[in-house]
């Protein structure tokens, strides 16, 4: 008789869980099915023409170049910020930690809009590089800070006693403990650049996302747009695979379960000054200047603001985003649980969802317009818009569910069983309550991303339904910056709430760090 532990059998997924995951997987794959269906409508000659024309290759090179450059730069800056905040004894440290993450709350098109309104000639590839690096650095800062907090401090102390200097300690002791988290942050950064529409569109950079938008808007040629979107899918899959390969199984065995007080961090005045200058520069460019600019435009024009429209757009933003976050959580829960249990279906679904996460909003919009129009009542409904948010950002919720379920100690599940509780009751009474903070973080992450989403919202919103993002866009795209400012400002303020909740400085282990 083959044998295994009860825990192993316990972790075998139930039929309900498998069925729910399959539904989530198929739902998440909807836009991919749509792309393939559209692409095969095209003639082979047409496909090769699109694939091999010089313009496509140029766009491809721009997309890849921008993605690599932004990811590399944001990774360097993100690690530097996290390391500085962790190791140097700075004043108002927890406030600074919260502030360096806050740029996540600012949509890239708001960033761009504020810089364009400040510097009229702000345009092109370098401008895109600048804006996207500022926008994506928090992904790496956050995941690296979380990894540093989890790392075993005693290993640094031992390394010091063994005669290693600061740089050697970073390379030989710190880096192996944080590199998986850095890679996860870099992946998010790369996927963000690949799917970004707002910034590159305002700055006039021809990447795949913009090309898809142009083809669709210009000629309604859905087949050609789908072929380009599939190239984007292939690049995203490659990026995901690269991140996976770079990841090593890492088990940090803490030398003691007791809380060891950290040794004194670096408190030399000169070091502190340099650190504050570095963090200050990032905050100035990524937070203070854009917000100050938005505020100045807003104050200069506060009398002509339509407050009732502003209020209505805020409520619409919140309703659509909340509904999207709830749908995402419902779909992500079975996939995340399966993935935490090491199931193959869970892993495959997880990857499909991550690829969908990299799709530009416009592709999601196209897919759901096609899907929604085949079911009359669904087309241009709030439900369809929220469903699009759920599909686009489900990856964030799946990551949160997976890591929080994975962290539930296995011995508590065993104890529950010995106390007479069957699997389903153990899941309900032990696993879910213990994973709740992570599940909430995941839901907030989807909420945050949904509030900022623009291209899919433009395509799928019900008639007369305006969010803060669409209102801001409609004004700024025709260069009416004065009228766009209050919407941008309010969007940043509202988005700052979930950002702050996810990364509360009092959360010692930086739980959001794994999940953003």
């Amino acid at each position: 008789m083959g044998q295994d532990s009860w825990a192993k059998r316990q972790s075998r997924p139930s039929i309900t869980l498998i069925a729910a995951s399959l539904i989530a997987f198929l739902t998440a794959s909807l836009p991919l099915f749509y792309l393939f269906r559209r692409a095969i409508d095209a003639e082979v000659s047409e496909i090769s023409l699109i694939l091999f024309r010089s313009k496509t290759l140029e766009i491809l090179a721009t997309t890849l170049g921008l993605t690599i450059a932004v990811t590399a730069l944001s990774t360097l800056i993100g690690i530097a910020l996290a390391w500085t905040l962790f190791n140097i004894d700075l004043p108002f440290k927890s406030t600074l930690q919260a502030l360096v993450i806050l740029p996540v709350a600012i949509p890239s098109y708001v960033f761009t809009y504020s810089w364009i309104s400040l510097i009229p000639g702000f345009k092109g590839l370098w401008a895109a590089l600048f804006v996207l690096v500022l926008a994506t650095t928090p992904f790496i800062t956050l995941t690296t800070l979380a990894a540093l907090r989890r790392s075993d401090w005693s290993t640094y102390e031992v390394a010091q006693t063994l005669g290693l200097n600061g740089l050697q300690i970073f390379v030989r002791v710190t880096w192996p403990q944080i590199k998986n988290s850095v890679a996860a942050g870099s992946l998010l950064s790369a996927l963000y650049v690949l799917s970004d529409f707002g910034a590159i569109s305002l700055l006039g950079v021809d990447t795949l996302t913009r090309a898809i938008e142009n083809i669709y808007r210009g000629s309604f040629d859905r087949s050609s747009a789908s072929i380009l979107a599939l190239i984007l899918v292939a690049i995203s899959a490659l990026v995901i695979r690269l991140e996976e390969r770079s990841r090593q199984r890492l088990h940090i065995i803490k030398s003691s379960n007791r809380i060891i007080k950290r040794a004194k961090t670096n408190d030399k005045f000169k070091v502190k000054l340099i650190a504050l200058f570095g963090i200050g520069s990032y905050l100035a460019l990524g937070l203070v200047i854009p917000l100050f600019q938005l505020l100045s435009i807003f104050l200069a024009n506060s009398t002509s603001i339509n407050y009732s429209l502003l209020f209505k757009a805020s409520i619409s933003t919140l309703i659509a985003a909340c509904l999207g976050a709830l749908i995402a959580l419902a779909l992500a829960l079975p996939v995340g649980v399966l993935s935490a249990q090491g199931s193959r279906l869970g892993r495959v679904s997880d990857k499909a969802i991550l690829i969908v996460h990299a799709l530009p909003g416009i592709v999601m919009g196209l897919a759901l317009v096609s899907f929604g129009s085949s079911i009359g009542w669904l087309y241009q409904s709030l439900l369809l818009l929220s469903f699009a948010y759920a599909l686009l950002f489900m990856a964030k919720a799946v990551g949160s569910v997976r890591s929080s379920v994975d962290r539930v100690p296995k011995n508590l599940i065993e104890i529950s069983a010995t106390l007479g509780l069957p699997k389903s009751a153990t899941f309900r009474r032990v696993v879910i309550p213990l994973a709740t903070p992570g599940l909430l973080s995941g839901t907030l992450l989807v909420l945050l991303a949904a509030m900022k989403e623009l291209p899919a919202t433009l395509m799928l919103k019900p008639i007369g339904f305006e969010t803060l993002a669409t209102q801001m866009w409609s004004y700024s795209s025709i260069f009416r910056f004065n009228e766009a400012a209050p919407y941008a400002l309010l969007l940043v303020l509202i988005a700052a709430i979930p950002t702050f909740l996810i990364n509360r400085p009092d959360k010692g282990d930086g739980i959001g760090g794994d999940q953003i």
């Binding site: 532990s5 009860w6 100690p409 065993e414 010995t418 106390l419 007479g420």
Partner: protein
């Protein structure tokens, strides 16, 4: 409560045999200790009894109920077992009362639950702790609450997996005595896994000694301590010396403790082997006498309540350690006269490697 009967139990994990044809019997209501070094399979045995591991072969019976045999393995939630892991394993999201009543929800009314929780908290000496969270409790308190939680379901058996290992020495002795007294008074069959021989000897009615996935000996604490069946079994319960010896006739033996070393060894008509001696069974005398052998004191390790005296015998490479309570008159470098005051535990040569 019920008795435990294990026959021929074999457990294989990842192509490694952890338990090998293991047999064990524990009578109803007794407190048993499974004692053995790290890696000998004692936790695997406990997890097999709890149903957390599926054995490859053999049978486990609780009283008359067969809970594990090749054709049937009862899952843990149907075994009515109370399980107390290391450090308690309390649910961190639940208060003390919710932890204690965890197995009772839906089975009893709220009023009955509250009464039982109160009763159990009184029993473990922690009244008025209902609303506390696990993280507000000390290690010892967590163990006591885990015990109350296990007792709440009125289990057929309680399994304790090194429950006191994380506690410091003083607290450990205090808590272990309290817990053992409590379990014995409740007459619940209890099985505790430990690698601490003092814990086992002090608490248990029956000790099962484990080595390499098998129970090598079981019996009362005095039985396994005084009559070990092998050097390995003797080592499990305390310090032991293995000395070369000859069996002369009847109960007569030659050993370095009663004869010059050169007289011991392969000799015609004498059976060769070894004797097992506890350090406290070696007497140190300041004066020579009959069947006393001279030895030189090479070191004295003083522990307060007693001391270990290291002795060198002429012709014997091995250092012999004697435990004494009185070190007066003993000096490093001086000669002393040694005799053997304990029972003879003879191990024939062919069995010495076991």
């Amino acid at each position: 409560m019920s008795s435990l009967e294990i026959r021929d139990l074999t457990v294989e994990l990842g192509n490694r045999i952890i338990l090998k044809n293991l047999d064990l019997s524990i009578s109803s209501g007794s407190f048993a200790a499974i004692l053995g070094p790290s890696g000998c399979g004692k936790t695997t045995l406990l997890r097999s009894i709890a149903g957390l591991i599926t054995p490859k072969g053999g049978a486990i019976r609780f009283g008359k109920q067969l809970v594990s045999v090749s054709s049937l393995v009862l899952p843990p939630h149907k075994r009515n077992i109370g399980y107390v892991p290391q450090e308690g394993g309390l649910f961190p999201h639940l208060s003390v009362e919710e932890n204690v009543s965890f197995s009772l929800v839906k089975k009893t009314s709220k009023k009955d639950r509250d009464e039982l929780v109160e009763e159990l908290l009184d029993l473990v000496g922690m009244p008025n702790y209902q609303k506390r969270l696990p993280q507000e409790l000390s290690g010892g308190q967590q163990t006591r609450i885990a015990l109350a939680r296990a007792l709440a379901m009125k289990p057929a058996m309680i399994l304790l997996d090194e429950p006191f290992a994380a506690l410091d020495q003083t607290l450990r002795s205090e808590i272990s005595q309290e817990v053992v007294a409590l379990l014995k008074s409740s007459k619940t069959t209890s099985i505790m896994v430990t690698h601490d021989r003092e814990d086992a000897l002090v608490s248990a009615d029956i000790i099962a000694l484990m080595r390499d996935g098998q129970v090598v000996q079981s019996g009362s604490p005095s039985e396994v301590y005084l009559k070990p069946i092998s050097a390995a079994a003797a080592e499990s319960t305390g310090d032991i010396l293995t000395l070369p010896a000859n069996k002369i006739e009847g109960n007569q033996y030659l050993s370095p403790l009663n004869s010059p070393v050169e007289q011991i060894g392969q000799r015609a008509g004498y059976e060769s082997g070894q004797i097992l001696v506890r350090p406290e069974e070696i007497a140190l005398n300041l004066e020579p006498g009959e069947r006393r052998v001279s030895a030189k004191i090479s070191k004295i390790n003083y522990y307060g309540h007693d001391a270990l005296v290291e002795l060198n015998f002429a012709g014997l490479a091995q250092i012999v350690r004697a435990r004494v309570t009185d070190t007066r008159g003993l000096e490093v470098g001086s000669n002393i006269f040694v005799s053997h005051k304990g029972p003879i535990r003879w191990v024939p040569e062919k069995a010495t490697d076991q």
